[in-house]
């Protein structure tokens, strides 16, 4: 089983004219294959800094990231191999695909770069991946991103992330830019893939409702510190930390809203 360990990571940014800003403060957690960890917190809480450190776009000021007990290599082949095992799905499917290139190209590139399959099998693998994310390969493979809907584009981004057969997936708000009626479809697809491929998923979001339904565990981040972590239902339904309670109270919750309204009117609905 693959385990990624985030070990007492602190990240300090130097802000021009404003001294130092501690984006992460001694953050520790583990990400296991076959499990989904939801990471919630408001803007500026440090969620994206965690994603950047995981993908080695930033280096921590102190602390270590370990994959199966090994520290993450800084460069060269070893770093490439690390990145092959951990892939990202970004928030904006309109910006994360190159408008100049076909869908085929987007998925072919990681297959070729990471030499996942022999050259003569690349086409078949591209098609397999597209079918895997429930797209009709024949109808989308030679199209460009602008010809697809937001949901289809996000499926392409997921297929691209899966191409190098990663063990871990970091999904940063993967459905927040999509229309509501297709969000559940994409989340269910991610859940299926996660289960079938035994992926470890880090689901970064500020939407507590989807975090609860999509994650095994939830970790709440406030100003760079982990304030609460536990099974998804417990953290959301019975939050212990004041900040988690505040987040929970601020999230739209029609069920509670109308129950309260009915009580205030002195009668049951």
């Amino acid at each position: 089983m693959t385990v990624l360990e985030f070990d007492r990571i602190t990240k300090i940014y130097n802000v021009r004219g404003a001294g130092q800003m501690k984006a992460l403060d001694e953050v520790s957690f583990t990400l296991e294959s076959g499990r989904t960890l939801g990471l919630v917190g408001q803007s500026g809480s440090g969620k994206s800094t965690i994603a950047k450190i995981l993908t080695q776009l930033e280096t921590p000021t102190t602390g270590r990231v370990l994959l199966d007990g090994e520290p993450i290599p800084r460069h060269g082949k070893a770093l490439r191999s690390y990145r092959q095992q951990l892939r990202m799905v970004f928030q904006d499917p309109f910006a994360s695909l190159n408008p100049y290139h076909s869908i085929r190209y987007h998925i072919e590139r990681p297959l070729q770069l990471d030499r996942v399959v022999p050259a003569d099998q690349v086409d078949a693998e591209v098609r397999r991946l597209l079918e895997r994310v429930r797209l009709d390969a024949d109808s989308v493979i030679d199209r460009r991103p602008h010809e697809l809907s937001g949901g289809q584009r996000q499926r392409v981004a997921i297929a691209r992330a899966l191409a190098s057969r990663p063990k871990l997936l970091v999904a940063d708000e993967p459905v927040s830019m999509l229309d509501v009626s297709i969000r559940l479809g994409v989340l269910n697809l991610l859940a299926d893939l996660q289960r079938e491929e035994g992926l470890g998923v880090l689901y970064i979001t500020h939407d507590l409702a989807t975090a609860r339904h999509f994650s095994d565990e939830i970790m709440v981040l406030n100003q760079g510190r982990v304030v609460e972590r536990g099974p998804a239902d417990e953290v959301i339904l019975n939050p212990q930390d004041p900040y988690t309670r505040e987040l929970r109270a601020a999230s739209p919750d029609p069920e509670k809203h109308f129950a309260t309204a009915a009580r205030d009117q002195g009668g049951a609905r």
Binding site: D179, N188, P252
Partner: protein, 274 residues
């Protein structure tokens, strides 16, 4: 003075491209004085086109092909919006109906202080107002939305997203309009900031008594803040009812689909099959 503020009848908008797209089809609705009307639907359903259309803010290739929009002014006069000439329309907009635009975070001019941008509203619509009075009005507006008068000289990039959104609300409030149209005003904000802004909107509505047309695809949020909700699909209003009845007893199949698309914060598990 009647209870209605805005009466829209058989309103249709077509995008005159090839082939033409009917974006809004024969919409009839009445907005009441002081109410928050939620307008919900997915991308391309026509909700923004409708809200812009009733203020005649649409640009070619959009064409209003039918319908009337009557604004029942607090003075008792009925204003037929379609019959206003360009100058009358200019006076009507912002004075009677103002807007908080989608992506308001980026709707401010990045190279002018926010106080200056708020003063513009008075310069254009209240040309007789003295400079000192304008400044005082701007200071008051910034206090009302809790940005603080001291920030009048700040540039937009020096403010947080939530503060910028409050400045946009202050701008919309400037002339004390009777209707504010808000197009996804909190979509880019995180939940805590969103909650503060929503609280502020309802508090200002109580204080100043304006009506709100609130456009968003976030149905859970709309259910909490709206008095009534119109659900739009493919240019038509498929259901219009009180928020509570939309929640407890939705009639249209599409409304039910939309409601079931949202994982419930505290409801049953199982919407995501894991």
């Amino acid at each position: 003075m009647s209870d209605a503020l805005l009466t829209v009848r058989d309103f249709s908008v077509v995008y005159d491209v090839d082939p033409p797209v009917a974006a809004v089809k024969d919409v009839t609705l009445e907005l009441r004085r002081g109410e928050i009307l939620g307008l919900a639907g997915e991308s391309g359903c026509g909700k923004t086109t409708l809200a812009y259309g009733v203020q005649r803010l649409l640009k070619a290739p959009a064409v209003i092909t039918s319908g009337s929009v009557v604004f029942h002014d607090a003075s008792g006069a009925d204003i037929d919006v379609n019959s206003l000439d360009a100058e009358q329309m200019r006076r009507f907009r912002w004075d009677k109906v103002s807007m908080v635009f989608q992506g308001a975070m980026n709707a401010l001019n990045p190279v002018a202080p926010i106080g200056r941008q708020l003063e513009d509203v008075f310069e254009v619509h209240r040309p007789a107002m003295s400079r000192a009075k304008r400044r005082a009005e701007v200071a008051e507006l910034l206090e009302i939305v809790k940005v603080g008068a001291a920030r009048a000289r700040s540039f937009p990039h020096e403010l947080s997203g939530g503060m910028r959104q409050r400045v946009m609300i202050a701008m919309a409030l400037a002339l004390r309009p009777q209707l504010m149209v808000m197009d996804e005003p909190t979509t880019a904000l995180d939940v805590l900031v969103q909650r503060e802004i929503l609280r502020q909107i309802s508090q200002l509505r109580h204080e100043f008594g304006f009506s709100v047309i609130f456009i968003t695809h976030d149905l859970p949020l709309l259910l909490e803040i709206s008095d009534r909700i119109a659900i739009m699909r493919e240019g038509e209003i498929v259901e219009l009812d009180t928020a509570e009845r939309i929640w407890t007893d939705p009639q249209d199949g599409y409304t039910k689909t939309l409601l079931s698309s949202f994982p419930r914060l505290t409801g049953e598990r199982g919407v995501v099959v894991r």
